[in-house]
Symmetry: C2
Subunit: 112 residues, 2 copies
């Protein structure tokens, strides 16, 4: 069995973490995730929320989807997105708590 160099393991972990962080390191995606943390939402709803063009929203969702952060459910033409990764959820929560300590308005007022 191959035992991994501790620094290689650290690197591998850091790589995975950085990938997840990159998914979240964007204002629009954070806003979407904020909404999704309260339950699933359709693309249209996220378009209205963010004020972005539909194609931009779709592309952001594509990034999140390919990164495994969200998953989709289809109902007729409408697609409902939801958060699908626990690491994403816990980073987001940590973020909200840390943010809430400075002002009362973190992106998580409406709970599920």
């Amino acid at each position: 069995m191959k035992h991994t160099d501790p620094i290689d393991e650290l690197r591998a972990n850091a790589d995975r973490m950085a990938a997840v962080l990159r998914l979240l390191a964007n204002r629009e995606r954070l806003i979407m995730l904020c909404r999704l943390s309260a339950g699933e939402a359709s693309v249209n709803e996220l378009v209205d929320l963010t004020g972005l063009a539909q194609s931009a929203v779709s592309q952001h969702l594509g990034v999140l989807r390919e990164g495994g952060a969200v998953a989709v459910r289809a109902d007729a033409q409408t697609r409902y997105y939801r958060i699908a990764d626990d690491m994403v959820r816990s980073i987001f929560n940590a973020l909200c708590e840390a943010c809430g300590e400075q002002s009362s308005t973190g992106p998580h007022n409406t709970a599920a």
Copy 2:
């Protein structure tokens, strides 16, 4: 008195969060922060740890410094860096915890 639109406030919050996340969303910087989460370290030590060129490390530290994630203390020519932001610390902790819990389950679960 201007009352802020909730969406504007959300946007402002998300912007700040995204800025912090961008600081962390890099493998090398995460490795450095991992080391710094155990206490302050000199640039040289971080060079050895990461295996990067000194200038690269210095630039990464510059990014973290300007973003307010770390602070420096000088002792002669040596500069000791340390984590200087609570949000950074709590995101990093959440990350570490989530990473440790990650191994428990299979492909994916359908949460609600």
